[in-house]
Structure formats: C-alpha cells, structure tokens
C-alpha cells in the first residue's frame, strides 16, 4: 500500500516536473462561457500573470482576460470542434495581468462529458507573441520590398505610359486651340462637337493615370474579400498599356462567375502584372508576330482559384529553371527593361504568404505557363 502511494507520488512528481518544464500551460476546463478551469499547470503565471490557484478557484476565468475582439471567435471554433468531438487549434490574444497583450496558440480536445452533456476539455496553451511579431515583420518587409518593386515596374513602364498619355494630350492641345479659332469665327455647332471631344480625351488621360495609381500605392498589408473578376480586369487594363507598345494583345479568359477570394489585391495584381510583362518580353525576344496574344485566365478547382498566364515565348531554358525564383536571376539580359530580376522572387513570396504556390511549366511547341492558386473567401480556416 505504502509502496503503491510512493509510486503514485513519484508519478505525480514526475508529472509536476514535466508540467513545470513545458513552454506554456496545460489545462482542464469545462466548455462553458469563459471556460472555468479545474486544473492549470504551473506555466500559467508566466503566461498570463495569474496564479494557478486563482484560475482553479475560479476567482478569475480564462475568458475574462481573453482579448474582447477574439473571445467570440475562439468560442465559436471551440464549440464547433467540441460538437464534432474533434481536436481544435486556435490562435488569439490574451490580456495578461500586467504588460501588453500576448498572442497565444491553443490546442485542445474533449476528453469527457458531464452528465448534463457539458464537454470537459484538456489542452495546452503557449505564447507565440514573438513568432507573431517576427511574422508581421517579415510581412512588412515583404510589402516594403514589393512596393519598391511596384515602383520599379512603373519606372520601367514609363515609356509606355508616356505614350499612352501623350496621345490624348496631343489631341487636347489640338482640339483646344482649334476650339478657340472656332469660337472666334462664331462656328458654334462645330465648337460644341469639339468640346465634347475635348472632354472625352481628358477622361481618357485620367483613366491612364488611374490605372497606374493602383501600382504606386503602399498596400494596407491586409487581406480583404476581393472580386477576382474586377481584380483581373483592372490589371489587364494596366498591362495593356505595355502590350499596345509591343503590339501584342492580352486575352482575358474568365468564366461567367468567380467566387470572392481573400487576398491583398494590390500584391496579387503586382504578381500578375509581373507575369504578364515577363511573358510579353519573352514573346518579343522570340520575335512573336504582331498581334500575338498572351492569355490571362482564371478558374476554380478544388476550392481554390487558379490564375494562369500563358505566353507564346521561347519558354524557360533548362539552365534557368533551377534559379528561376532566385533574386537577380534574369534571362532577360537582352532586354533593356529587364529590371532587377526581383519580380519572380517577390511574386513567389507574395503567393506563398497567401498560402498558395507559384508554378511554371514550358508548353509544347513553345510558350511558358505560370500559374498560382488562392484560397476562396470563407472556406477552410478563417
């Protein structure tokens, strides 16, 4: 008997040591509002600043210091998992007794049920604040780099944009001086027609500037629910400025309906613009006929939106294939507008930060196809 207790005590001691060394807090609670705890391990105080007795005596509940913006969502996810009897993983903020809020990661599962059906949950919570900070920093730096690259792209497109602006400006100059003469000569009828044309040309110039502006903005670094049809049409319009100068066309192939996607629209447009410009450069290098089309298409497959850019250029040389996504690797050395060779590297980072993958393959007999996937809004993890 004594021996048994000893063994038990030893096991208990071992468990206590184990809990002590955990980088976080193990717990048992009831799946009731604010999750009353019946057991918390020692890591509790380091994590939230409250002592385990305070939580176990339920003088304070876990939900009392869960961040007020997150508590409802955590409750929803835990409840959903508990109803299905599945384990859950959640990330949310808590407000410790002292100091700024912390990000925590929690994993738990239902281990038992009370007679009234209330789920008993056991799990583990750990501090991921520094990880979150690092992720945010990486995200911010990625966006800064992406912004520089966007401005660089605009710089490279200057000639095309200048051309596109100079056309309406030429017309405006000619129409307006003509209008003055017509007014002096009292030719009102013709004057009115010219005034309308003047207005049309100034709208035309305005539209060019509007197309560019998207690319010059600093991204809010936020994922929004975006209509992919609008996103693709907008970026096609911008890329078309350059397509016109190279005498190529952009063929936008979209199904009737596309579901909303969750993404940072500016960054995704940047990736597509980069792919379209790369494709056009490849087509020019391989002397594609005037009027050749580069295809921009989108389709939904397996709960993902797949966006594809297909060119008719020479394809990717085998030697380039391995370092295609590395910074400063460029097979466009013949093209003066080659830029820094950062486009694809940033593109890959942006797509991966969105949880997708950027792929390419060479087509037979010629051309290359770049594609990537994005999650459809409101599906999978939120």
């Amino acid at each position: 008997m004594t021996q048994l207790t000893d063994t038990h005590n030893n096991a208990d001691d071992g468990l206590q040591t184990l809990f002590k060394n955990l980088p976080g807090m193990a717990y048992r609670c009831l799946n009731l509002p604010h999750w009353p705890m019946s057991f918390v391990s020692e890591g509790c105080e380091t994590l939230c600043g409250y002592q385990s007795q305070e939580l176990e005596s339920q003088s304070i509940l876990w939900g009392d210091f869960t961040h007020r913006h997150d508590v409802a969502e955590v409750d929803r996810q835990v409840r959903a998992a508990a109803d299905l009897g599945q384990p859950f993983e959640v990330e949310y903020r808590i407000v410790p007794r002292t100091g700024p809020h912390k990000w925590v990661w929690e994993r738990g599962r239902v281990v038992d049920r009370l007679k009234d059906g209330t789920a008993v949950i056991e799990g583990f919570i750990t501090d991921i604040t520094s990880l979150r900070h690092a992720e945010r920093l990486v995200g911010e730096q990625r966006e800064q780099l992406a912004h520089v690259e966007r401005l660089n792209t605009l710089g490279e497109m200057t000639a095309a944009i200048a051309h596109e602006l100079n056309q309406p400006l030429t017309a405006i100059a000619m129409y307006s001086t003509s209008a003055k003469l017509l007014a002096q000569q009292g030719q009102t009828d013709q004057l009115i027609v010219v005034m309308d044309k003047l207005a049309q040309q100034s709208y035309r110039a305005g539209a060019v500037i509007e197309r560019m502006q998207t690319m010059s903005y600093q991204s809010s670094h936020q994922q929004d629910h975006v209509n992919p049809t609008d996103l693709l049409r907008e970026i096609k319009d911008l890329a078309e400025i350059e397509a016109q100068i190279r005498h190529f066309t952009i063929d936008l192939q979209l199904p009737q309906y596309l579901p909303l996607i969750s993404c940072d629209a500016i960054q995704i447009q940047q990736v597509i613009l980069n792919l379209l410009r790369n494709g056009m450069q490849a087509m020019q290098t391989s002397a594609c006929a005037e009027g050749s089309a580069i295809i921009l298409s989108a389709q939904v497959r397996e709960d993902q939106l797949w966006i594809k850019v297909t060119d008719q250029g020479t394809g990717i040389e085998e030697a380039m294939a391995d370092k295609l996504f590395l910074a400063f690797a460029s097979n466009k050395h013949t093209d003066k507008a080659a830029g820094m060779g950062l486009g694809l590297t940033i593109g890959k980072a942006i797509i991966e930060a969105h949880g997708g993958r950027l792929n390419y393959r060479n087509l037979s007999p010629q051309g290359a196809e770049f594609s990537f996937n994005l999650g459809i809004a409101g599906q999978g993890s939120t």
Binding site: H163, E164, N166, Q167, T170, A171, I172, M174, Y175, S178
Partner: protein, 198 residues
C-alpha cells in the same frame, strides 16, 4: 493636284484633332489609320506633305519612310511621336525627314512645319516641271555637262557639232534658271532626282 496634308496615325483622336487644327488654317487634309493604308492609296501626283506617327502596328513610321523612298515619293515627311529617343530622331532626320516632333505637339510649331513642307514640295514641283520642259537632246547634254565634260568631248560623244552643243547648253541653263555651271549642277540634281523618282 492641290496640296494636302496626309495624316498617318493609328490613334483616332490624334488624327482627328490634327486634321481639325490644320483645317481651321485652310489646309486640306486626308487621314489614314495606318501606313499600309496610306501607301496603298499613294500616287505620284499627290502634292503636299505627310505627318506620320512612328510607332504604329503593321508598318511603322520608319518602314513607311523607306517604302516611300523606294517608290519615289518626294513628299516632305514630318514625324510625330509619343516617346521618341534622340537616336530615333537622328535616324529619322538622316533618312531625310523634314522634322521630328514629340507629342504632345506644339500646335504653332506644327503649323510652321507644314508651311515649310508645302514650300519645299512646291519647289520640288517647280524643279520637276522645269526639267520636264527639256528636250531629249538637251537632257543628254545637261547630263554630260553635269559629269564635267568639255563641250568638245560632248560634241564627239553625241556626234554633233560643238556649236550645237553650245546652243543646247545655253537652252538648258535658261530653262533650269541656272547662271553658272554650279547652279546647273544643283538644279539638275534637284529636278532629275524628282524626275527619276517618278
């Protein structure tokens, strides 16, 4: 045939507005949306000048210039472009363009250039007319004088008397309005160039 401004630009608004501006100054204009369309409708009797964009789909401005040169078109050519570079301008001028204007084009400058082009075209036409008034024999004599041959040699070459050569030579000088041999050479080159072009 009356002098006309032939406007070749793929941008509808640019064509239309330039045409309007020149019409306001009593120029006759004709618009073409690309170089191929213009070169198909071109004929040697056309007088005036051409205003052409450089970057156009199909045949670009430089290709048009080369094509017109080959088919003997003498019409002065004014290039207008939205994104010209210095080397492009140099190339255009070297190949004989009258000028190279950047969009947005200064409307007064365009008027001056068109006036200049019309004067040049007029001069071409007059030289051509003068040259056309020479007889076959006079042309032969003029050609040999330009080559720098003495009257005696020309006479032997054409198997005519030296006195006859002198008469033909003075007729040529009179018809081409040249006072010296140098003036004759200049007039001959200008007009025969135009003539041979045709």
């Amino acid at each position: 045939m009356n002098q006309q401004v032939f406007i070749v630009d793929d941008d509808c608004a640019v064509r239309d507005s330039i045409s309007l501006w020149l019409s306001c100054h009593d120029y006759q204009t004709a618009c073409f949306e690309d170089a191929v369309q213009f070169s198909q409708q071109f004929n040697v009797d056309m007088r005036g000048c051409i205003i052409a964009d450089i970057r156009m789909p199909g045949m670009d401005g430089f290709e048009l210039q080369a094509h017109l040169h080959n088919i003997g078109c003498q019409l002065p050519l004014i290039f207008i472009t939205g994104h010209g570079t210095v080397p492009m301008a140099v190339e255009a001028m070297r190949k004989g363009a009258l000028d190279y204007l950047r969009k947005p084009v200064d409307e007064q400058q365009l008027l001056h250039k068109v006036a200049e082009a019309f004067a040049l075209d007029q001069a071409h036409a007059m030289e051509t007319q003068k040259f056309a008034s020479l007889t076959r024999r006079e042309r032969q004599v003029a050609e040999l004088v330009v080559e720098g041959l003495a009257n005696k040699v020309i006479a032997a070459d054409l198997n005519i008397s030296e006195r006859t050569v002198e008469v033909h030579r003075s007729n040529v000088m009179r018809k081409l309005e040249a006072k010296t041999v140098a003036g004759l050479v200049k007039a001959y080159l200008l007009s025969s160039h135009a003539e041979h072009g045709n």
